[in-house]
């Protein structure tokens, strides 16, 4: 079995690296490494992200219209659990490593717990290329992992900072109270993430899919353009990944180790939870893969500004560098094929 597994897996893996989605990612890293001056304008990236997430939302919305929501409960729950768990994993592993500031570690956990719309889009596309079916509403799991992760990270970080501050005040001979601890409001954080460009595009699509009749533009515009636009975005992410590698040098080596291992770890955690839903609620294997992929992904658009505002004292070069330069390419280029291979080998699909 294990031999068959390996062979199946490797065969598959190579094949998937040749898929448009992944090959453009790799292509982007290569041309950036070769110092190409190719630039995809920011406005183009913005509109691509908008279209990808609106399309994912529309798909979900149209699907939800005629599907019983009870089967969403467990996956949604597991998405949230994964998002929260990932933050604590970082808190108790990365944060304790030498030369790693605790707040930076927590922020990094938050970013890796949050979801990257583009990574999810890549996952969905590769699944389709592999003719693996999944629940059309699977994309809608996004916010249920994204928001809990960001909220947890910001809360945990501020609790930590307040504790440290109190301790400092206590030791302080003058005995004066020092700046009073700032209490974290949770709702504003949730609001802010919901308002981010990526999530609001997705939720807009979802709402339109549920309440309006967007089928014509969906079939005629958003759906056909999806893969092509994604290929451009993958190129950009590849180039970005390379250009951000430098930033990582400024921070502790451990971030490199973390951002290589974490995507797998997080993905496996979610994959495991997904399998429970697969067995109990026959959540499709495709859905399990998606759960694993969004868990292994780390947020690129909305996460960073939210964390920057929520944990100002954390160093963005640390968490953004880790996720953009290593986390994301690993998630897209390695984890997607890996979890699909895993699903195929296990689920025999």
């Amino acid at each position: 079995v294990s031999v068959e597994f390996i062979s199946l897996f490797m065969k598959d893996f190579i094949a998937q690296l040749q898929s448009p989605t992944l090959s453009f990612l790799i292509g982007g890293m290569i041309i950036a490494a070769l110092g190409s001056e190719l630039v995809i304008p920011e406005s183009i990236c913005t509109i691509i992200v908008f279209m990808l997430l609106t399309k994912i939302g529309l798909t979900g919305g149209i699907a939800i219209r005629n599907s019983n929501l009870t089967e969403m409960v467990l996956p949604v729950l597991f998405a949230a659990i994964s998002g929260i768990a990932i933050v604590f994993i970082a808190r108790f592993t990365l944060a304790n490593l030498p030369k790693v500031k605790v707040v930076d570690a927590i922020a990094t956990g938050g970013l890796f717990g949050a979801v990257s719309g583009s990574t999810m889009a890549a996952g969905l596309t590769v699944l389709e290329e592999q003719k693996i079916t999944y629940e059309a509403w699977a994309g809608a799991l996004y916010p249920f992992m994204d928001i809990p992760a960001l909220v947890t990270a910001i809360v945990v970080a501020n609790i930590y900072l307040n504790k440290r501050q109190k301790r400092a005040a206590a030791l302080d001979p003058t005995g004066d109270e020092g700046p009073r601890p700032n209490r974290v409001q949770i709702w504003p954080i949730i609001e802010e993430s919901l308002r981010g460009p990526a999530l609001s595009a997705m939720l807009l699509g979802l709402a339109l899919g549920i309440f309006a009749q967007p089928e014509s533009v969906y079939k005629g515009f958003y759906d056909p353009a999806f893969r092509g636009l994604l290929s451009i975005l993958m190129l950009v992410m590849g180039m970005e990944a390379w250009s951000r590698l430098g930033e990582l040098r400024k921070v502790a080596q451990w971030y490199v180790v973390y951002s290589v291992i974490a995507p797998f770890l997080h993905g496996l955690l979610a994959f495991g939870l997904g399998m429970i839903a697969h067995v109990t609620m026959n959540f499709s294997m495709g859905g399990v893969v998606i759960l694993a992929v969004i868990a292994s992904s780390s947020s690129d658009i909305s996460g960073p500004p939210t964390l920057r505002a929520g944990i100002p004292s954390a160093n963005p070069s640390a968490y953004i560098g880790a996720s953009t330069a290593i986390g994301t390419p690993i998630a897209i280029g390695v984890c997607i094929p890996f979890f699909i291979g895993l699903a195929q080998a296990i689920g025999g699909i």
Partner: protein
Amino acid sequence: MSKKANKLVIVTEKILMKKIVKIIDEAGATGYTAMETGGKGSRNVRSTGKPSTADTDSNVKFEILTENREMAEAIADKVAHTFFTDYAGIAYICEAEVLYGRSFCGPEGC
């Protein structure tokens, strides 16, 4: 006719834009001019994960003309104390002489 003024310049991270506008308004400045800039300093942080294509749009630069130096310094103090420990930023003052500006000298001119 003209009116002496202090021109306070603040360069900092773009995501602080709205918050700094608030501080400026609260300080009672008659207005401000804002533009996108890029740059490099002691901390050269990019505060978003967005692919930043150009190197000229990661920061924002504010120019605030104030009649008295106190207001300029008040704004600078507030901004610096609130943000410059955690965010990239610099603040400096130049002398200027306003020739026309309704916000500054009222509609009848300086």
